[in-house]
């Protein structure tokens, strides 16, 4: 029971809902069990963020084949809110500014939505504040941040920290981090990573989506998958990330920035 997969992705094919000719995911298989940290690495345009958003329930994509099981349940008919309330959490690459809603109001609504989903009564104000404070300490987030409108005027680092903070407040069982490292300096990266590591308890699972190996120095993964052109082209342990760091994605036929600086001798 306790080792039943958190997430199972089977032969997943997906395309843009608006433009069915654009197939983005072309047969993904992935199983994440409790306690595991997986990383998906890939060049720009490989489908990394599509996979993250698709898992969270974004309606811009259409699954054409395969399926996604979360906690053993097919998520096809579950909206993003249902998936979240079951314990899935997507930390956004670009968290949006929420005008007029304070971080506190936002999280209060989220916590109570989760409790309603579980058939529980709303959390009283005192317990809620204690919970928010405890998590703020754990994730190293200034409590005053909660009084500001969510993400409004937040720096890049603050936004990412607030994402991790939300993940902790909502007690997510599966955290999907979509390029959380992008745009972060080393200090911010360290704080964010410590926050994630503080949640690793042998039960929660994490899926780290990243372009660069740097994040994985701070959050060490158990498995690394290389995504190119909508498919995993290689899977392995954490050493695979180092390999990518040294050789880039070239061994997988990807020449990033090729349009800007074609390799010498290349011909059209």
């Amino acid at each position: 029971m306790s080792n039943a997969p958190l997430l199972q992705i089977e032969n997943l094919h997906a395309r843009l809902a608006d433009d069915p000719s654009v197939e983005i995911l072309r047969g993904i298989d992935l199983t994440i069990r409790p306690g595991e940290v997986h990383s998906i690495m890939g060049p720009n345009g490989s489908g990394k963020s599509t996979l993250a958003q698709l898992l969270a329930g974004k309606e811009d994509y259409e699954v054409t084949d395969g399926r996604i099981l979360f906690m053993g349940q097919d998520v096809e008919d579950l909206g993003p809110d249902d998936r979240a309330n079951m314990g899935m959490f997507l930390a956004f690459q670009y968290p949006v500014e929420v005008p007029g809603v304070s971080a506190m109001q936002f999280l209060k609504a989220a916590v109570n939505a989760k409790r309603a989903f579980a058939g529980e009564a709303e959390m009283d104000a005192g317990s809620l504040i204690r919970h928010f404070r405890a998590k703020a300490e754990q994730i190293n987030v200034p409590f005053d941040m909660l009084k500001r409108n969510a993400n409004e005027g937040f720096s890049g680092g603050e936004r990412k920290r607030f994402e991790i903070y939300q993940m902790a407040v909502l007690d997510a069982q599966l955290g999907i981090l979509d390029e959380t490292d992008s745009g972060l300096d080393i200090d911010a990266l360290r704080i964010v990573s410590e926050g994630v590591n503080s949640m690793r308890d042998g039960m929660r699972g994490f899926l780290l989506i990243t372009h660069y190996q740097r994040l994985l120095e701070y959050i060490v993964p158990d498995f690394v998958h290389v995504l190119v052109n909508g498919k995993f082209v290689k899977s392995g342990g954490k050493e695979l990330a180092l390999e990518l760091e040294q050789h880039g994605y070239a061994p997988f036929g990807v020449h990033e920035h090729a349009a800007i600086a074609p390799p010498a001798g290349a011909s059209a």
Binding site: A56, G57, K58, E59, G79, P80, D81, R83, A84, N85, F89, L90, F92, P95, V96, V98, P99, G100, V101, Q105, F106, L107, K108, A109, A110, N112, A113, K114, A116, F117, Q166, L170
Partner: protein, 441 residues
């Protein structure tokens, strides 16, 4: 056209025509020249007033007084607001339902307009009508023609501060159409401070009323005036409201307008800044549903140097409702160093809702800062996804986002009880917001 037939001065003056009578005659003449506005009038391009023109309206007081009791008035209280409330039912003042207005503090007087015309002529002569007599608006002309009959005067001596707000509560109870032309006059002497609330409500959903209210505000040098217009008429009501303001040097006037009800509403706000360093805030929200038509016409005139004006209007339109915003800023040649900002933001909640927005800047001075911005959009899908990805159901996500959009303007209001009332009204209007609890500080 029965409403202009009255030819004797309703103030009861028996001498030669009083100053009010002169205004009334002018109003009759002007209305005869103008006639009812049509869509060919630029100012009424998006608003068809023929339903008003084609209705046979009764005069206030033509029928027996409606059965309205203190419990009814209590329904429309603004909780926790300590105010002097004066109640009008179908255009008739109801003293037995109203508060005693005598404890507004030293130097502050609130009285009925006909009484003031008789007993406080020195306050009104040279004031009443001076902001409206040269109107090119037929409704204002009509109001001039009926001036002195109905309304409230709030007067503060120089330096006097009102101890509490005055609230005029207008209750429509009658399903047979009644037209009323209240004229309120607010006079804040030098350095004085007053707050005036016009609160328009209906006792029955089928109450048909036509309110053509004109409020003249005179903010003398250094005066502070806060004006609220809370419009919660029935969806069969017609409401044309005009707020005309004259601001002296270093005066500060805030106008807050919330349109929630009405079949056809026209809201005119027209401040003229005639003294240096005057500040003016025009804050508004219009929320339409069904087939409501909510038309807002702003005209801010800078007639002195170094003045600042701010217009922040927001619209939320659902179903087949239509919103109109016309924001005019006029900067006279003398008004150098003008700092004027206008913003109009609209949210459409359905495919059939519509907005017509037009900024109109007339700038005749060369050293000014005037900006305007206008947006119309829907609830942001990216934001809804963000909320849902945190477990918040879609309907609650949308309700929270719409509420947040609306509530931004509430924070500009000084009276927290009014903010709380509006928050509750907004939440009640939003589908899916039942579980929503948003505290206001």
């Amino acid at each position: 056209m029965t409403t202009l037939d009255a030819d004797r001065c309703a103030c009861g003056c028996t001498d030669a025509p009083c100053f009010v009578d002169a205004l009334r005659q002018l109003g009759r003449q002007r209305f005869d020249e103008l006639g009812w506005p049509t869509r060919r009038d630029e100012s009424w391009r998006y608003t068809d007033v023929s339903p008003i023109a084609n209705t046979q309206w009764r005069e206030p007081g033509d029928a027996l007084p409606a059965d309205v009791y203190p419990a009814d008035v209590a329904r429309f209280a603004i909780p926790d607001l300590d105010a002097v409330t004066l109640v009008f039912v179908d255009g008739v003042f109801r003293p037995e339902l109203s508060d005693d207005a005598s404890d507004l503090g030293a130097g502050v007087t609130c009285t009925l307009l006909p009484e003031a015309v008789r007993e406080r002529a020195s306050w009104l002569d040279g004031r009443i009508g001076t902001l409206t007599s040269e109107t090119d608006d037929a409704f204002t002309a009509m109001s001039n023609a009926r001036a002195g009959e109905l309304g409230v005067v709030l007067h503060a001596n120089a330096g006097a501060r009102a101890a509490k707000p005055v609230r005029v509560l207008s209750i429509a109870s009658d399903p047979t159409p009644v037209a009323a032309h209240p004229r309120h006059v607010i006079i804040a002497g030098k350095g004085a401070g007053v707050t005036f609330i016009e609160h328009s409500v209906c006792l029955a959903d089928d109450a048909v009323s036509f309110t053509n209210a004109v409020t003249e505000v005179f903010a003398d040098d250094g005066a502070k005036v806060e004006h609220y217009f809370l419009e919660q008429d029935s969806e069969r009501a017609f409401n044309v409201s005009t707020l005309a303001i004259r601001q002296g040097a270093s005066s500060d006037v805030h106008s807050h307008t919330i349109l929630l009800g009405g079949r056809l509403v026209r809201n005119n706000v027209m401040p003229t800044l005639i003294g240096e360093d005057a500040h003016c805030l025009i804050n508004g929200l219009y929320v339409g549903q069904g087939r409501q038509h909510l038309d807002n016409a702003m005209r801010v005139r800078h007639a002195a140097p170094n003045c600042r004006s701010r217009q922040h209007y927001k619209g939320i339109m659902n179903d087949r409702s239509r919103g109109v915003f016309t924001g005019r800023i006029i900067v006279d040649p003398v008004a150098q160093q003008t700092d004027a900002i206008q913003s109009n933001r609209n949210m459409l909640l359905s495919d059939d809702a519509r907005i017509n927005a037009r900024p109109q800047l007339e700038i005749y001075a060369d050293d000014v800062r005037c900006t305007h911005g206008c947006t119309t959009g829907r609830v942001d899908d990216e934001l809804v996804f963000y909320f849902r990805s945190r477990g918040i159901p879609e309907n609650v996500s949308r309700a929270m986002l719409i509420y947040a959009f609306a509530a931004e303007g509430f924070e500009r209001m000084s009276l927290k009880p009014v903010r709380r009332l509006l928050a509750a009204e907004m939440i009640a209007k939003l589908p899916g917001a039942q579980g929503l609890s948003i505290e206001l500080d």
